[in-house]
Amino acid sequence: MSAPERPTVIKALLIGPSSSGKTSLLKRYVDDVFEPDDTTTTIGVDFREKKLTINKKLYRLLLHDTAGQERFRTLTSSYYRGAHGILLVYDISNRDSFLSMPRWFEEAERFAPEGVIKILVGNKTDRTAQRAVKASEGEELAKKHGAIYFTETSAKTRDHAKEPFQKLVDVVLSTPGALDPNRVVARKADVVDVSAQAQTQGGGCAC
């Protein structure tokens, strides 16, 4: 807050079926780590943050993970609020994972702000032998549901792992209106600041 320039916030979400590697992909991008034994759906934090400088401008990329609420498809509609971009992630070694994607597109369509940038990601390309989804199928699905980009990644081997995030930021920044502060979801001006600092003492008694 003391910085001379307030970074622009970009909010991105990951969605998709359980065990598609959303959190791994996120950790690979933010911390460049991969924890093979960490198979829990837990993340313990509300979102991860990556600070970016693009064309000498500061950005805060806030990446929200599903917190396990994708497991029984109980993500809240509030999870989608204000999102600029969504990464839809499936597992290329699991056919069911891919087959569930139309429902995730529908959910994004239903709850995310209009004009949200969607990117389809087929993860786990390291599992060459178990591949159950062709890249061309992913390509086709992305086109069908209006995802502006499709890529296949491996959080484990780093294969293209940063690409969907970088692409998302690129597209958000290059799409006119995508970061427009007048979008309903980003209209912060009329919000009451209820943070502790804003709280005045004693209230305003009439007497």
Partner: protein, 552 residues
């Protein structure tokens, strides 16, 4: 007066009626079911109402394992936010015994000004107003959850006076001493008395001096009409409007009124000048619920399953006397719960309202003493800009209009009880631009009910929009109304004997999200955790314990 119905309570827990909202493709995989019964949960909570969700978040943050269920395909229960389609389905499928005479009505309107697509609406069954001094708000701030919410001002409090069409029919209720002294409609003597009366009720510097009359059984009206004040009815009505209570001023106990008015003034200025209450963007209470449930999930300690509920509870203590079993043993054994999905899970505690648990709760039956209310949600094709104007930016997104008894006439009868109209602007994200949402409520009367709502909204639209648009005379229209009867003031049920099944009383939200929800939640939290310390406080992220292991 209200009604008694116990049978429908049973219906909600034993039948498997297909729900039109249910997504048939959303099914449980074998792996998931296994995961649910591999652990002994610390608490299984049935229902995602505000108390249940607050409890889930607090327990999960305290390291307790929580399985949180809801029979509906959406979050929120009594605070649920619905699209038009979902709301229509809700009206056709209400399973709650305390909600009756539900009517979903659309109105013919000129082409182009009608309802927009279903999902551009986020309609709640209650407006979810929060005073800025509310303990719920302080809890959200203390626990940093306010960062996931956007609070908007509830600006003006108005009294609607339809009888004076020439002057402004909406009279703003003065908020401060300056407002009172600047009010041109009051004479100097009245101004002084109003300030004195206010002082006597709310005290100075926020300290309630307490009037001797508080406990004397006087009504607010009697108090303000006594010789030392002799205030006119217009002033008494203004005082009443600040209470958010639906009683007539003559039937409003002074003590209760004082408490409410004090709360209003205590709340003024806390987060800025000129307003005492806020609403959260996107159907207020529903958004609070969702943020709490995500906070619970984020800890890794809470699992969410919708469209599932508890159909049977088997307590281990029910066979053998509790004295013979060591407390630890019985705790380990846990309660066995059968779920609607066919799963059987074990837990140490069960929490829910009677409508979400398979138990008969005599105290939760609606008694004939309970007060009945008419409630309604209207969508209108006018932004009603005038009522959201504020002296200082930002503009308000909510406003309260008090319609006194006797001010609206239908077929020669006028309303015998006052009405509250809570207006939400499209800034809330709950309706498209150019439209607004009106939540109306009124105590049930022997003569007529909901027909007064239509007349009130039409009268408001006529008076407000004609002023707004001036010459072009495009009055707003009613696009949609959903009206129902509900019961409030229910007795809290007795606690279950074992101390492990925690029964919540039925919660019927009216205008405000009541403070008492925090206390009710904390009581159960204390029974499960052993203390109220650090309620909802965020602990450092910990690696989750493997399922099945005892936590805490």
């Amino acid at each position: 007066m209200c009604w008694v119905d116990v049978t429908s309570l049973l219906d909600t827990t034993t039948t498997n009626t297909p729900n039109p909202l249910v997504d048939p493709s959303r099914s449980f995989s074998a792996m998931n079911i296994e995961a649910l019964d591999q652990t002994v949960w610390d608490a299984v909570i049935a229902g995602t109402g505000l108390r249940e969700s607050l409890l889930a978040a607090a327990l999960a943050r305290a390291g307790k394992k929580v399985l949180h269920l809801d029979q509906n395909p959406y979050y929120g229960e009594e605070y649920a936010a619905l699209s038009l389609d979902e709301l229509e389905a809700w009206t056709q499928n209400v399973k709650l015994s305390h909600i009756r005479s539900v009517q979903y009505k659309t109105y013919p309107v000129p082409e182009g000004s009608g309802l927009k697509k279903s999902r551009s609406y986020t309609l709640s069954l209650s407006p979810g107003l929060l005073y800025t001094a509310s303990p719920i708000l302080s809890l959200l701030i203390k626990s940093n959850l306010h960062e996931s919410l956007e609070f908007l001002k509830v600006g003006g409090w108005f009294v609607y006076d339809a009888a004076t069409p020439l002057s402004d029919p909406l009279k703003r209720v003065p908020n401060t001493r300056e407002d009172i002294f600047n009010d041109k409609t009051l004479d100097p003597r009245t101004k002084r008395v109003v300030v004195r009366a206010l002082k006597s009720m709310v005290g100075s510097e926020g300290v309630n001096l307490g009037t001797a009359a508080t406990s004397s059984g006087l009504s607010l009206q009697q108090y303000l009409e006594q010789p030392s004040f002799r205030l006119p009815s217009s002033i008494i009505v203004a005082f009443t409007s600040l209470t958010l209570l639906h009683n007539l001023p003559s039937e409003l106990p002074l003590g209760e009124a004082e408490e409410r008015i004090k709360k209003h003034f205590d709340s003024l200025g806390r987060f800025g000048a000129g307003f005492s209450a806020v609403i959260s963007r996107y159907a207020s209470g529903s958004e609070l619920v969702q943020v709490l449930c995500r906070a619970a999930a984020v800890t890794g300690n809470a699992i969410y399953v919708l469209e599932n509920g508890i159909v049977d509870i088997q307590e281990p203590g029910s066979v053998s006397p509790p004295i013979q079993a060591l407390p630890n043993e019985s705790t380990e054994q846990g309660i066995r719960l059968s779920l609607k999905s066919g799963d059987v899970v074990r837990t140490r505690h069960v929490v829910g309202t009677a409508s979400n648990l398979p138990i008969t709760a005599p105290a939760d039956q609606i008694s004939s003493e309970s007060t009945g209310y008419w409630m309604s949600i209207y969508v209108v094709s006018s932004p009603l800009k005038q009522i959201f104007q504020t002296d200082e930016p930002p503009p308000a997104a909510g406003a309260i209009i008090y319609v006194p008894a006797g001010s609206i006439e239908v077929n020669g009868y006028s309303n015998t009880n006052p009405m509250y109209v809570v207006v939400h602007s499209s800034d809330t994200g709950e309706c498209p631009d150019g439209q607004s949402i009106l939540y109306i409520s009124m105590k049930e009367t022997s003569s007529g009910g909901a027909e007064f709502f239509d007349a009130t909204v039409k009268s408001l639209l006529q008076n407000l929009t004609s002023q707004e648009s001036g010459a072009d005379n495009t009055a707003g229209h009613i696009l949609l109304s959903v009206t129902f009867k509900t019961c409030a003031d229910l007795e809290p049920p007795d606690q279950s004997s074992s101390g492990r099944v925690h029964l919540l009383s039925r919660h019927v939200p009216m205008i405000e999200i009541p403070d008492s929800l925090v206390e009710q939640t904390m009581e159960i939290y204390e029974k499960i955790v052993g203390s109220r310390d650090a309620f909802l406080e965020k602990t450092a992220p910990q690696e989750p314990e493997p399922p099945g292991e005892k936590s805490g």
